[in-house]
Amino acid sequence: MKHFSNRYIFIFSSVMVIAVATLLAMAATMLQPKQLKNLEIEKKKSILESIGVEATAATTENLYDKYITESLVLNSRGENIEGFDAFDIVLKEEEKKPLEEQHLPLFRATAENGEKVTIIPVEGKGLWGPIWGYISVKPDMSTVYGATFDHKGETPGLGAEINTRPFEDMFIGKKLFEDTKFVSVGVVKGGAKDGDPHNVDAISGGTITSKGLEKMLSDCLGKYNDYFVKNRN
């Protein structure tokens, strides 16, 4: 091994760091527009999935325009706030504000069977990181029309099962309200009883993710309580 002077080591490391930083900065800047576009498509795709419309990256834009008829921003009393785009609202930022000041996004869509459904975004914490999803409810504002979930990095095969069809489909037909009281949908370890309108089965080995999902649903959907009550028919 050759001997290198301190001077050489300093120069070598400086050059290396600058070269690497430039390379990474360039890659990040050049790829960013494409990445943001992917995220937007991903979001639209998830919204569509919650009403049972399967889209590919190529068809998402068209299908989104076709099915999603309206987007609203509400406050916690269920009143419409003008001047904001529901699509651009970041739930994580909203959660930091006091409830009265939060902006609650909501989308309306006409589903495949002609039913007018309301889509609500939800966000919470799983075991390793954020989990989120979209829940669509029927015009009675209680019956779940469809649900889709996703996660940043839950364990594959365990917590990550929340974004699989069999898990998401269990939510279809569940009720958010017991008579007039908001109860949300629970996730039960050991399996929900047949015909239980408020619970679904938890994931074996994914207890913390399941619990996080349950909390996410009751926290996020609970904020829309006033809107649900006012608009049910």
Binding site: M1, K2, A27, I41, G153, T155, G157
Partner: protein, 217 residues
């Protein structure tokens, strides 16, 4: 598992560099490196394959880069230089996937960090690339990535089949109709301890078959 498509530049020595990590120098079962990721990503076949592929690419390319620079890297900061190369590679791969293969990148999200910390990478850079020419180092990276991959795939295959009753997401057990006979998926297979046990069985099997691996008393 030998590479059949041989060209003149694949001399016997180069072939050996590729094949030894698959068997008797296997990074997981013999060198016992990269165990943590082998346990973490083997619940299902798909993430295991993606992980195996990513590790292979990153190991091969980092090996190549370090081998090309080996005469200029000051000995005293070589570990830092190796880490910088690995980290840069992983971030670049991640950025490209996010832009051009978004679905794959979602699969990979949690494993990217694991690749940077994978002991196999540092092990190969330090043990091989620092002392060899770029081409053999590249092949060595491929071989070690593949050796790591094989074990991952075997473990993931068994865990997915016995734990979830599927192979690559295809419900085999259901199609075979074994559930009606009272068969149930083994929930233990999904949990990390069974990965360790399966891995232990593979190591046991391999050592019992290969005399050179049996430690002398």
């Amino acid at each position: 598992m030998s590479n059949q498509e041989k060209e003149p530049m694949f001399s016997a020595k180069i072939r050996k560099i590729f094949t030894t990590p698959l068997g008797k120098e296997n990074p997981i079962t013999v060198q016992v490196l990269g165990i943590c990721s082998a346990l973490a990503v083997t619940v299902k076949l798909k993430p295991a394959l993606v992980m195996a592929l990513s590790v292979t690419i990153v190991t091969a390319v980092s090996n190549f880069v370090i081998a090309a620079l080996r005469d200029y890297i000051p000995d005293r900061i070589r570990i830092i230089v190796q880490l910088v190369v690995i980290a840069t590679m992983v971030i670049l791969v991640d950025q490209f996937l996010k832009a051009y293969a978004f679905d794959v990148s979602k699969q990979l999200s949690v494993f990217v960090g694991l690749i940077i910390t994978n002991c196999i990478l540092m092990g190969r850079l330090e043990a091989f690339a620092m002392a060899n020419k770029p081409w053999p180092s590249f092949v060595d990276g491929l071989g070690n990535g593949a050796g790591y991959g094989i074990i991952l795939v075997i473990v993931a295959f068994l865990r997915e089949l016995l734990g979830s009753g599927t192979i690559y997401g295809y419900p085999v057990m259901q199609k075979l109709g074994v559930y009606s006979t009272g068969y149930e998926n083994n929930g233990m297979m999904i949990l990390p301890p069974m990965a360790l046990i399966v891995l232990g069985l593979i190591i046991w099997f391999q050592r019992s078959r290969n005399e050179s691996l049996i430690e002398k008393k």
